[in-house]
Symmetry: C2
Subunit: 376 residues, 2 copies
């Protein structure tokens, strides 16, 4: 696609300002606050289409894209409009980063670990297996230097600026067409699981597949795959996975706190007025918080429905699976760090941060959760 | 104090706009985005002083106030300025709500449970003992209808609009000048602990005292009180509590996820241009997220220092204390609901939400936390 600018100025608005200014020249009218704001035409009108990786009926993850757009519009008196489009319209689900990188679409909404073939460093943006919880991921990104080093990597590798816009919290471990009671039940299994988690599963004998959301149900139903992970009860229920598989495992050790993100072509970002950049930043922070809140508020009732109406069985992963997966994950991280200097430079700091914050959250936070869990 | 308006319009700016408009009348200049923004003078200049409950050296909780101000300024090209002032300058630490209510100060930064004498409903805004964690509190406020019912209550009771601007996460259980090994060690203890938690402690034989942050250290040092709770390692360390008391208990069952908030006089809020209201809303969301991230990022190293350099002993509350406190807390909630219809109407919904979300967080989230806690 041809690279073009998405910045448009409202000629009529700017001309109207000139005329109105002339009529008022030489005296100071009794300014009404409301009309002063309504007449604010000095900021440019901009319309950006947004490519996303999502089917439109997933109303938490797709809502994240809409919320970014809605808040940016609210913060710019409607001047800066972003229009999220479902997967397949502007780019296929797994090629959002690519179209933003080349500049044919100015902004995208996706998860970074879909682009693992472009370099392992993208995994830190989504979150690593056995890594950080939602709060820990946000702490690392915003106050642990994480976002800063990711920005440097995305700048040099993809010419992209990015911000997290929603964390799922600890996800479920997905849907399996048979019971997985021990490590020996994994070899030979075909499973939809992307990113480094897929690589970990491969080490445990699973054939990992990378399918976009819109193609998982059919693959599970047809038997092309034996298992699939997606997000959690609320979004999984919409995908109807429980209609073909009722073994629902936990915890999703590969996604303890996964972020979705907006990706913005850096040239387009740099052309934005500073106030619009600030609006997009704030909208991203706000959306990140509100999407997690939405998942947390909607998952309980969905889980209840899945169990009571859907005949779903909750099953914990066995300790031997968790232990082997954790060992494989950290072995993979070490090997990846040895082969990729960008990954290595982030991994060391990320891992130190992880150990420190998990130790702190193991005290008051886990102490409280364990107590209220026990006493109910 | 006399009520006055804090809305100021920039006369010179508006006049300049008129002149600039005339020079351009009749043709459409090649508009530079940067200069178009720089000339945006149609939004009014507003300066608001902000009363806070905090000593200025508490650089997470006071930072929350500064961050709200900084983000509002960034989102309005510097036109809407908020200036946080330490406790004692515009209002004493425990009277922020009062000055905002009467309108002598347009905006405040405080915690609601300081104002328990104004009605028990304020407790839901800060958080209840044995209540919601940080994520659960945000889920309830933003997606569980919590903020909406709180706004109705604050509107009718205080003529105030409010937004959460920072959650501490599960706090520590505070500093005790002697070991508290069982329930029988509590009677007779004088402890700084505000709000409903103080009422719960009273039921366990403690004399609960309500002291602002700036007065706690002296009271603990002089022996006027035997114990005090504040926040967590990072802010507690700045308060120097470990220099007079080394028994540091956990978890802070009374503050599993406490929110600080901004409170805005409703008449002043209603006078704001809509875009400034939206800026303040987004700044509040953003600050809420970033303050938790800052606590999470800074607590681990502070805890390490307290233990290794400060000689602090970490001690868990015994089960008999937790059980008795939990039983007293819910008995207090029931009695309060029976006596106060506002509290009752919120309590039922809040409690249903709490049970549902704690059940969900007891699955994938706690399963993950328990595993990574065990495996380190």
């Amino acid at each position: 696609m041809e690279r073009r600018s998405f910045l448009k100025l409202t000629a009529t608005g700017a001309a109207a300002l000139g005329v109105a200014g002339c009529e008022q020249a030489g005296f100071m009218p009794p300014v009404q606050v409301e009309s002063a704001v309504a007449e604010d035409t000095s900021l440019p009108a901009i319309e950006w289409p947004m490519a996303t990786s999502w089917p439109p009926d997933l109303d938490s993850i797709f809502w994240s894209a809409h919320l970014v757009a809605e808040r940016v519009a609210a913060l710019t008196s409607g001047k800066f409009k972003i229009q999220p489009r479902p997967a397949g319209e502007l780019a296929s689900a797994l090629e959002v980063l690519n179209v933003v990188e080349e500049g044919s679409v100015p902004i995208g909404h996706t998860v970074s670990h879909y682009y693992a073939d472009r370099g392992p460093v993208v995994a830190f943006s989504t979150g690593l297996p056995f890594g950080l919880t939602a709060r820990q991921q946000n702490a690392w990104l915003y106050e642990g230097g994480g976002l800063e080093i990711l920005h440097a990597a995305y700048d040099s590798r993809f010419n992209i600026m990015q911000f997290p816009v929603g964390n799922s919290g600890a996800q479920m471990g997905g849907w399996f067409n048979k019971e997985i009671n021990s490590l020996s039940d994994l070899p030979g299994l075909k499973m939809r699981i992307p990113g480094m988690a897929g690589q970990v599963m491969e080490r445990l004998g699973v054939t990992a597949q990378m399918l976009p959301g819109g193609e998982i149900f059919q693959a599970l139903e047809s038997g092309a795959i034996d298992a699939a992970e997606w997000i959690g009860p609320y979004e999984d229920e919409k995908m109807n996975f429980h209609k073909v598989s009722t073994n629902y495992y936990y915890p999703g050790w590969w996604d303890p706190g996964s972020s979705v993100e907006v990706q913005i072509n850096l040239d387009e970002w740099n052309k934005l007025p500073e106030q619009y950049q600030e609006a997009l930043k704030s909208a991203a922070y706000e959306t990140n918080l509100r999407v997690t809140a939405r998942y947390d508020a909607r998952n309980p009732a969905a889980l209840h429905r899945l169990i009571n109406d859907g005949g779903v069985q909750l099953r914990p992963f066995s300790d031997d699976i968790l232990n082997a997966a954790e060992e494989s994950a950290f072995a993979l991280f070490e090997e990846t760090a040895a082969a990729d200097t960008d990954f290595a430079s982030i991994y060391k700091e990320w891992n130190d941060f992880r150990k420190a914050i998990q130790s702190w959250h193991g005290l008051a936070e886990r102490g409280y959760l364990q107590y209220v869990g026990r006493s109910r």
